[in-house]
């Protein structure tokens, strides 16, 4: 029996170093002569910088250099997005130049012999601001009388478009009712346990920059550093080792990291910066602040005939480079019909600039589509007197109606399992039994509620034709080492997803070797294949595997040809088992991968002329995209005395294809749900009306702990498939489905009190306001 690694809970390759203190995150690395950076950050939301006085700071012990925005234009390019139709993309420098636009924006950089000294000096730098009116509300920001963030633009409307699909007028004309609601979600943040960090080391004698980063996309960062600091690309090397979580936040050209590289180039010494928690919460990126007016044309039986969504997005002060914020609402537009019969559809997007931290990607960054749609089903069910499960069933596509294109783009809908996920979730949670229990509880003055949400996660993303369809291929290189070991060079940049394990599992099976003979290399731009995205977008189960297996096939073919010559057997009659090549039907002759590799590397002249002995192969995997499909169901109890919400059960039915590593897959789902629970009940990147940031510590920005996240029950649907790579992504879905699910459950619980919920942030005080016990 040959051991198969794929599909099993093998012990992760990464864990021994993570569990014994031998991991290497950026701040764990020290280089000889290394200096430390700290930043002076804006204390005001919107102002002109009148002057910066760093004279005293420069004289303090251990201070090596102080840089301000005015130092940059001579040596560095500003950050600027590639042009996107209809999108305003004002350029900005790594340090604020002339103006500050949010509290926490870096204004000056101090480089010192210790971080303590650098922070001391920051306190002695005096920035004189000429305050401007703060722009804190996205709806006020787009009014003509608002103060303007970028003078050259004239207003704060960064983007507006209206897209129409099908015949909405006919849908509205044929409707029994049109139901209009305004639904919003608040600003929150990724908050990885390790914040952004960079360590730059420039060698002036060679003109070479080596940059260690906590990043999701080392090749893109290399590109960015090269362009921004005017270095040839082949003189820049980016290294990502262990990365302490990202959830979308570490794919950008982070301003502070550009500055460590800038400083290292000026000083010829290594310069390190690692964000502290306050910096992470202030300026590490925030997300998801959006609001929409939704108009639904419905029949009384719950059939949705047409849908109009007018979405407004608060991008904050800047769009981070290189992935513009507008990608996310465009994806929300493309995805919103999901698995439902939504064909008459209109989606408006308005994006406003405000004096807040930049809006960045966060795990399922188009999640607003699921939040709006899955809230809407519950709202419609209440308005029409229907059951929330039945109204979803009524509007979901049946597979016999498919394949057909998604109304909003070229992606093809087929083989949907969302309905099956819903059915299984409803069964798992004992829906009829719960409704009875809910009735009994209500009679006792207890408020139980059930929430459901269904969605499809592009995993990896199919083509939508929205101008960001650049992620459909990925490259890997595989090398058979002279000792017969297999080294895989992946374009992925894992930060918790366990790719050193999952890629090794599949490649071990693909080659016929033990997992211990497979080594996965990532994060070093000198050796890993180029990619313009890295790890993200739920690609990690499909794309690197397709690429690695393609490269492996080339190597395996060459190995078997050499072995065929050595064993005097036709290559197609050979197999590789446990690193040994032998005839498939048995036989007494065999040859090990080590013996084959040694011949290939050192004695190719012993092989027939023309034998391909190159033991390294590169393959690019192209893929049309796939869906992960899911239904979440939550049971909650709301204490109407305290406003506390207890999640009593949480069930997920997930179709992400065949899990490569069941525990890694379930871990992704659980982690995303914990973040969704946090978003609804605990987390808010709060600003006051003057634009001052209020949640700069973990005492103000609350993350859920082990006491707040319930046990999560996960069921998998694994459809029969003939796909080459049957593994689909699963990274983002947990945080796509959970906010809608939890809010639906809370509203369901409070229905006897007539509570309507049209927002996402529901801490105890807000629950008490909604039920009217406090004002």
């Amino acid at each position: 029996m040959v051991q198969r690694f794929t599909g099993t809970r093998v012990k992760r390759v990464e864990d021994p170093r993570l569990l014994t203190g031998r991991s290497r995150f950026v701040d764990d690395i020290s280089l000889p002569g290394m200096l430390y950076a700290a930043f002076v950050r804006s204390t005001v939301p919107h102002a002109r910088i009148a002057s910066i006085d760093a004279a005293a700071a420069r004289e303090m012990p251990g201070i090596v250099a102080v840089y301000v925005g005015a130092d940059l234009p001579e040596h560095a390019n500003p950050l600027m997005l590639q042009p996107v139709e209809g999108l305003k993309t004002p350029a900005f420098y790594a340090l604020a130049h002339e103006k500050v636009r949010f509290v926490g924006e870096p204004v000056a950089m101090v480089v010192a012999e210790s971080r303590y000294q650098a922070e001391d000096a920051c306190d002695s730098i005096y920035v004189e601001y000429e305050p401007l009116p703060p722009v804190t509300d996205m709806e006020a920001a787009i009014r003509p009388d608002s103060a303007v963030l970028f003078d050259e633009l004239g207003d704060n409307v960064m983007y507006h478009s209206e897209a129409k699909y099908g015949d909405l007028d006919a849908a509205f004309a044929g409707a029994d009712r049109v139901i209009t609601e305004k639904i919003s979600q608040h600003r929150y943040a990724n908050v990885p346990m390790e914040g952004h960090a960079g360590l730059s080391s420039f060698d002036p004698s060679m003109g070479e920059l080596v940059h260690y980063s906590s990043h999701q996309g080392p090749h893109m960062l290399r590109f960015g550093l090269s362009f921004l600091l005017r270095l040839p690309l082949n003189n820049v090397r980016v290294l990502c080792g262990d990365v302490g979580g990202a959830f979308g936040s570490k794919g950008y050209f982070h301003r502070e990291e550009i500055m460590t590289a800038f400083a290292s180039m000026r000083l010829g010494k290594p310069v390190k910066w690692a964000a502290d928690r306050n910096e992470n919460l202030l300026a590490g990126g925030q997300t998801r602040e959006e609001s929409a007016v939704v108009e639904a044309a419905v029949k009384n039986d719950g059939t949705l005939l047409g849908l109009r969504v007018k979405l407004i997005v608060d991008q904050g002060a800047y769009q981070c480079v290189p992935y513009p914020t507008i990608v996310f609402p465009l994806l929300a537009r493309a995805l919103m019909p999901s698995a439902y019969r939504i064909t008459n559809f209109e989606f408006h997007i308005t994006m406003a600039a405000t004096n807040k931290a930049p809006y960045i990607a966060y795990r399922g960054p188009w999640e607003i589509e699921t939040f709006l749609r899955e809230r809407l089903w519950d709202i419609l069910a209440v308005e029409l007197g229907l059951d929330p499960v039945e109204i979803r069933r009524k509007n979901l596509w049946e597979n016999q109606e498919l394949p057909r294109p998604l109304a909003t783009g070229a992606a093809i809908l087929k083989n949907l399992t969302v309905r099956e996920c819903l059915d299984q979730a409803v069964a798992a949670i004992d829906y009829p039994g719960f409704r009875q229990e809910q009735e009994r509880a209500r009679a006792q003055g207890r408020y139980l509620g059930l929430g459901i949400s269904c969605f499809m996660e592009p995993a990896p993303q199919p083509i939508f034709g929205i101008g960001f369809d650049f992620v459909r291929s990925e490259t890997a290189t595989v090398q058979l080492e002279p000792d017969g070991g297999v080294t895989v060079f992946t374009a992925q940049a894992p930060h918790g997803q366990g790719h050193e394990t999952t890629i090794a599992q599949v490649c071990a099976d693909g080659m016929g070797v033990s997992m211990s003979q497979v080594k996965v290399i990532h994060g070093d731009t000198r050796v890993v294949p180029f990619t313009n995205i890295g790890t993200g977008a739920s690609r990690g189960a499909t794309m690197p595997i397709g690429a690695a297996l393609g490269a492996l096939r080339i190597i395996k073919d060459r190995v078997l040809r050499i072995a065929g010559h050595m064993l005097e057997t036709a290559p197609e009659d050979l197999q590789i088992v446990n690193g040994v090549v032998s005839p498939i039907g048995g036989g007494d002759r065999s040859v090990s991968l080590f013996e084959i590799a040694i011949v290939a590397y050192t004695a190719p002249f012993t092989l027939p002329p023309g034998t391909d002995t190159e033991m390294k192969a590169t393959y690019t995997f192209d893929y049309e995209g796939a869906w992960a499909q899911s239904c979440h169901a939550a049971l909650v109890e709301v204490d109407t005395g305290t406003g506390k919400v207890e999640i009593k059960r949480y069930v997920v039915v997930e179709d992400c294809g065949e899990p490569i590593h069941p525990a890694i897959v379930d871990g992704q789902i659980c982690g995303g749900i914990a973040q969704g629970i946090g978003a609804v009940l605990y987390e808010k990147s709060a600003y006051d009306e003057d634009g001052q940031y209020l949640a700069g510590t973990f005492m103000d920005y609350l993350l859920p702990t082990s006491m707040e996240v319930p046990h999560i029950e996960i069921h998998h649907i694994i459809p029969e498939t003939d796909e080459e790579i049957p593994h689909h992504g699963v990274g983002e879905g947990g945080l796509i489905g959970s906010p809608a699910c939890v809010v639906n459950a809370i509203e369901d619980a409070l229905r006897p009190l007539g509570v309507k919920i049209r927002e996402q942030y529901l801490p105890p005080a807000r629950i008490l306001e909604l039920i009217g016990s406090i004002k």
């Binding site: 569990l19 928690r277 890694i664 871990g667 749900i673 914990a674």
Partner: protein, 162 residues
Amino acid sequence: MQKEHSIRLTVNSIHRDASVEARRTLADFLRIDLGLTGTHLGCEHGVCGACTVLVNGEPVRSCLMFAVQADGTEITTVEGVAPGDGNMAPIQEGFWRATSFQCGYCAPGFVIVGEALLRENPDPSEEQIREAISGNLCRCTGYQSIVEGIQRGAKIARGEEA
């Protein structure tokens, strides 16, 4: 220059004499002065627990303690939990088998509080485990796999799982 103070302590069974500024945190002393970078900083204000170490056997947040306060103590960091024979400690092995962590940045703190819990209570219930780790934040896992890892570690320590 800031005035320095002499301290003498034991870290992972090694005696150390050192001279530190009064304001140097124990975490920075361990990480920067001793090169024990296994202890991680997640908030530097005592909430996340990533920097937890054992001081005289008790879990302590090394970001909230000054190195001078550790004078005369015995400290165990994540590097010192394993028995030193090439094997992991049961708590680490339990975490490994349960696929407890993802990015692993917070893992050192959980290893330390898990170790402290198992020393005190070899057979903790799920509720006791959740309580014991409630002062440690993890952003990746939702805690479920960490709870399972401590249960596995307890079994290994009790000899119920080879």
